[in-house]
Amino acid sequence: MPGLPPEVRKDGEPGWAGGLRKLYNSVVDEPLPDSFKDLLKKLDDSEDD
């Protein structure tokens, strides 16, 4: 869209707003680190503890 500053999209949302969501989603998309295995085990075991 000509005439719009590069950081503003045509729907009026600034470019960084998409960047913020990308940042968030980049963490959401990461596989859970190994440190979470203990947590998962705890949740599994807690039924019997």
Binding site: E7, G15, G18, L23, V27, L39, E47, D49
Partner: protein
């Protein structure tokens, strides 16, 4: 005091829902704290708290909002604990955590994350909840325990701050979310 109960379908359902929100909790915690190791500890502790309190969760309501509130409260109590331990007044402890994140730079997510960590904590939380996590103002206000109007104004201020910070750092900023190879 916990009674030993067999895994019920309700517990199993809860567990599955809880597991499904873990990635979102990690993203929220990372945004709040700016430190991935601390964030992961927060998430794990919040998940255990959620599991322990599962009887208070009403099935069919919003697991993500419920667990975000738990994580957020846990984060704040960790900040307060850190304040007690170091005998600093409020705000200083929070700033320290933020500054550590800035200075040590275990951040891998580029300019946006750096900018995020420069926001006042309550504004950062607000823009993470509404702008990143996709909660409504109403849900975000409930998670943060504040009126909707307050949440709206925090989000607006956070957005203005982010725009200013990012614009100030680079003209015509192109947000880098990750230094991808």
């Amino acid at each position: 005091m916990t009674e030993r109960v067999r895994p019920s379908p309700a517990d199993e359902g809860f567990r599955q829902e809880l597991l499904s929100v873990l990635p979102h909790l990690r993203a929220f915690a990372r945004g709040l704290s700016g430190r991935s190791d601390f964030a992961d500890d927060l998430v794990q502790e919040a998940a255990i708290k959620a599991w322990t309190a599962r009887e208070r969760y009403q099935a069919g309501t919003n697991m993500r909002a419920w667990t975000f509130a738990i994580l957020r409260n846990h984060y704040l109590s960790e900040l307060r604990r850190s304040r007690r331990q170091t005998d600093l007044d409020e705000g200083v402890a929070e700033r320290m955590l933020v500054m550590e994140a800035d200075q040590e730079g275990p951040l891998h997510l580029g300019d946006m994350e750096t900018a995020l960590q420069k926001l006042a904590p309550e504004r950062r939380e607000a823009v993470l909840l509404v702008g990143a996590s996709g909660f409504s103002y109403e849900e975000a206000a409930e998670i943060a325990g504040c009126p909707i109007g307050t949440m709206k104004s925090r989000v607006a201020r956070a957005r203005a701050d982010l725009a200013r910070i990012l614009d100030g750092e680079a003209e015509g900023v192109e947000v880098k979310t990750r230094k991808a190879g």
